[in-house]
Amino acid sequence: MTETMDRAGSAQVVDALLQADKVTMKFGGLVANRDVDFVIPRGSIVSLIGPNGAGKTTFFNQLTGMLEPTSGEITFNGKSIIGRTPYEIVEMGIGRTFQNIRLFGAMTVLANVMVGRHVRMHSSWWGSLLRLPAVRAEEEDTKRRAQELLERVGLPRRYEEDWAKNLPYGDQRRLELARALASEPKLLLLDEPTAGMNPGETAQMTDLIKQLRDELDLTVLLIEHDMKVVMGISERITVLDHGELLAEGKPEEIRANPAVIEAYLGKQATE
């Protein structure tokens, strides 16, 4: 249990799955994140918003070990993740998707998801060499689970053996989601999951995220620009601006926050 103070100053007790303290990321002279404090309550859907270049993706990269914070502390499930490699963090239970889809294009759809399950598999290279019964069983099991996941995210069976790069755009996003889910994450990080989608697809994706959270016992953190999605899906919202925490709170609080309107919504409203 961790105590945090929100902007209004009222103490809250939450069961934090992830907690970031004073996380700072500098690229040379550029400060992409400055002293960001952040808590994700277990089981919630939290959105991270902010104008372009606010440092949202950079923050994700630190949560997944792809970048190491210049200073600050990040704990996941009570353990620090600073200094750990990305694959160790996947093993601890954080899965992610990318803003600009990054699939293994020349692998099949099914193989992409099976790669995602890599950390939950145990076969050794010599086991694979000898084709031990246990290895074959695990391979079959992985394949079955991957097929289930594809079904869960709504990718038709007939796509299984297609090359990932040949999938339509929206389906590529679904595939990335399936790949991330294959590692059985506790925390799922989605970087603009509805970017480039039409309103129909966006609504489907939103429903899918909620459904996955409920069915798979997930905690979700998503970066999103579409305010309708953000307001409709989030239990809490964090706003970053120029790398700094601007506001944190429930959707209705954020909607009413003058600083946010000024920095973010206001700018959009005048467009």
Binding site: Y87, G105, M107, M114, S128, L129, E138, E161
Partner: protein, 570 residues
Amino acid sequence: MSTLLRRALMMGLFGGIAGVHVSLVGIVNTFQTRDLIADIVTIGSVLPMLIAIMVGWLAGSTPKHIPRPSGSTTLVHGAMAGGVVGVVLAALALLVDSVSLTWILVNARPQLANILYFEQGPGLGSVILIAGGVLLGVAGAGLHLLPRTIARALAISGVVTIIAALMEPFVGAVLRNVELRAIEGFLYQSGGLTVQGFILVFVLIAAGIYGWAKRGDRAKARVAAMPPDRRRAGKLIAYGVLFAILLILPQIVGQRLSEVVGTVGIYILLGLGLNIVVGFAGLLDLGYVAFFAVGAYTTALLTSPASPVLNPELPFWGALPFVIMAAALVGLAVGAPVLRLRGDYLAIVTLGFGEIAREIFKSAWAQPVTGGAQGILSVPEPLPFTRDPQSIYYPILFFCIIAAIAATRLAASRVGRAWNAMREDESVAEATGINTVKYKLLAFSLGAAFGCLSGAFFGTKIGVVFPDSFNILVSINALALIVLGGMGNIAGVMVGALVLVGLPELLREFAEYRLLIYGVVLVVMMILRPEGLLPSRSRRVELHDVSDEDDDDMYTDEAGIDTGRPVVST
């Protein structure tokens, strides 16, 4: 002048220069000794013709951003380009014929002119040369007007027929060996194909390729539709037959060819190992020869009575486990420092490693152990097998089969998927849960094990180990054979070794031009088929936009097994 016409003339000029080059370095003269069709056409005179066809084909192609001109324009461009080749070569012939240049260029003698003139004298000869150039240029450009499958069948069949003619001494010997003199007499005559042999080979191959392109998919679909147990039975029978042939191969092909097959086998082992590192894991290792050398030296040190230190004089098979252990260690030693390097940097550093390895083995400092430049003599035979090509073939075959099975299984496993992902995008692979450090080291170690095994057989096969056997050409050869064969594919490695190691060994008489031909073959391949002869399916997807390709025959899946699934999707 239109862009395309200017392009065609340039192509012609380049072709002409290439023709002058091959003439003056002596290739034309050398190949003059061999007939394509006995007593009618020599291979030497075919070379300029091939250039004209190729140039015509290039002149007839259109770059992506330019709309395709009409058929007749294409042919005219081909004719122009081919004609330019003819004119340039006629000029060369005239020059060589009239002025003696032999004091600068040994090959610039009248005999060359005579070949270029088709032995018809300058007047008629140059007319034939230029008219021939035009016609062949038209033929080359005309390939674009034919349906793609037909054009391809014709082109491949042409190349195969020329190789068939060159192979006369060996194929002839094999046919005599198995008492098929009648066939030999029908196909071959005095160092070349007979007329009927030429037609038969050309037509059969062309028809075979065309038929496969047209019907192959249906055949594959039929196989795929068979019940699994029948399919497995069919596969077993096919492998069984292949295995039986491989078992009696040395007896069929005789002593001389067995020698070549053994060398090819050693390179297949080497290629399978390098394929794990480069083809599967995507780590461009240009110093692979280091592993080959470590294998050969470890074997020599542990087995040879002439070994300067230690000499435990183990039998070959007793030394082998230590060789593999040494390999794994060296794999780790090479892998660990380069873990953080990517792409080009990795290539350059490993290139350095390869050269360092050779220099160390050669150095005076290491002489007490490695024998320095003298190397280590009297490496024993792998008893009960002997050094005889028909005997050592069997252990090499055995290990090639083991290596192929191992590579196939790894490729189809969790490990193969991890390598695949790492090759495509290292940082995403890591963010998806793959320990890239571990998988890089694993690739280096396994690759090293295969390379060392190959080196061990190299050492025992020739019985001596010299540092200079382990030069950079071995690395280049190994890399070139997997690139040509089809990176990431096991069957491709075998085809690559046959073509790049087997053919040159057979054509020793042309050894002088080996690297030149080698280079040309690689350049042509990279233009026409960058993914290699038998690429893995995923490699092909990486290099091509699959959806607008129509030639999806000949492709096999990662492990080299025909799956019969259509490649084109959505």
